[in-house]
Symmetry: C2
Subunit: 294 residues, 2 copies
């Protein structure tokens, strides 16, 4: 399939903070959009810009050459794609289905198999870069699936991201995102522990951060989230409950290995305990509260 803004119909399902920005870039480039979102109001701006509202993901798929999803949890992905009247059932022949939700690699494989039976391509293409990356079309996009489908979809990815890579067959995009999240989980924990240590020893943690933030300990977690911890700013850049979702997927996948990822498990257990205390809709930097409860 050759993509053209004059003829290619793009479906976009899930137009929240991330998906809303991403869909807007496609619309701005001149593509005709078909949209669905659980909360309909979140499609208003896109519809005002010319998008067509449909009342189910399947109805979007029936009108689209490319279907992009950016929904919440793996169960949402599963229902949206594999449910009765869902995307796979109603997809057009020759369509490309692209799930950009961070979701389960195993589910991505199941969707790819179901799609293939219908003569439809699918890609798993989770992103990193957060709301700012989505807004500025600077997302990293990690893709799994067939190279031909990747090549065909590339012009669409390029409207949303800056660093776009095909990492392997179906599921490889999700696995790559899991690597990213596994690394971030322990880095964030180390930052929370280091800053907590600084506070306990009577140092001025703001000065400490200024000092070590330019050296070998530097990271987004230290330099951005560490500062938010110290400011007492726990507003979400990335929801803790979504991070827990990601780490749960990673843990489930890792359960089949001979090797225990126990630093990941430790980070996850702390986050889960915090979510139980009501921090699930706070940002991931609220991990600091494990070490510094109110």
């Amino acid at each position: 399939m050759a993509i053209s803004k004059d003829s290619t119909q793009i479906g976009f399902i899930g137009t929240g903070i991330m998906g809303g920005h991403m869909a807007r870039h496609l619309q701005a480039a001149g593509f005709k959009l078909h949209v669905y979102n659980r909360t309909k109001a979140k499609t208003d701006a896109l519809v005002a810009g010319g998008a067509t509202w449909h009342d189910s993901p399947g109805a979007v798929a029936a009108e689209s050459d490319i279907v992009i999803t950016m929904v919440g949890f793996p169960k949402d992905v599963e229902e949206t794609y594999l449910g009765a009247g869902g995307i796979v059932e109603r997809a057009r022949k020759g369509a490309i289905l692209i799930d950009m939700t961070t979701s389960s690699p195993a589910l991505a494989k199941r969707i790819a198999e179901a799609a293939a039976k219908k003569g439809v391509d699918s890609l798993d293409a989770p992103v990193s870069g957060g709301d700012v990356g989505a807004r500025d079309a600077k997302l990293s996009i990690m893709v799994g699936g067939d190279k031909a489908a990747f090549d065909a979809a590339l012009p669409v990815f390029q409207l949303m991201g800056a660093n776009i890579m095909l990492l392997g067959a179906a599921g490889a995009g999700q696995h790559t995102k899991m690597c990213n999240q596994i690394i971030i989980a322990s880095t964030l924990t180390g930052v929370a522990e280091g800053i907590s240590y600084a506070k306990r020893t009577g140092l001025d943690p703001v000065e400490v951060l200024k000092c070590i933030g330019g050296g070998a300990a530097a990271s987004f977690q230290l330099n951005v989230l560490g500062n938010r911890m110290l400011e007492g700013n726990f507003e979400p850049g990335f929801f803790m409950e979504h991070f827990i979702k990601d780490l749960t997927i990673a843990t489930e996948e890792a359960a089949s290995f001979d090797t225990k990822l126990d630093s990941l498990q430790l980070a996850k257990s702390k986050l889960e305990a915090l979510a139980k205390k009501g921090y699930g809709r706070k940002g991931t930097q609220a991990l600091y509260k494990h070490y510094n409860p109110d």
Copy 2:
């Protein structure tokens, strides 16, 4: 004390890889050096450049207005400063003693107290930036002690480092370095887990690193040490046994808190097990071997 290369005598004790580079910068700036090192041959280049060899740390101190130490473990620091005939006993009145070893904050306070009784200033001033930072005079230097002594010593620090900060009273430099190491310990563990996950899932870990190394997971540990893990290059940039020393100090200090730094403890226990297997003189990136044994 006003520092001048024409009159200020600088003692430098511990001229290994790090100390050797640092002393060379002082010599190149025109300072007269007095040197001691356990392995005498490691002072040869400095002596050829005009430094005077002495056969003990105390003998160096007796001739020096500023005494800098860069030795191994806290027990070496303790003996060098507080032992019979050591630096504090033989220091000149009005001298400034500067320990740049990563060592115990509690010991730094004891040295400062002993020095003060002799009318001598002392600073704890551990560094980060490794051998490359030392070679290029780009070290971060984290200082604890009196402001007057810090201000006096600053021109000397500036010959060795780029980011030089006074963080508080005696021990504050060491505490800041501990924060740095605590953060790095978990970050490194996360990187080893993420890369191990990538390998287990059949991804090409080199491609994964290329993909996620430009995003929110980026760090020195991922982008530099992660690549060394994948190349099977475990040669030391920073010795694992020295990192274990640092984390042991951090753990001992943290033992007085109400808060358990368990991600730190987990990283430390893995490194200790690897050191027992013979990886102590390898680089810290050999933590990868915990997850991928031979």
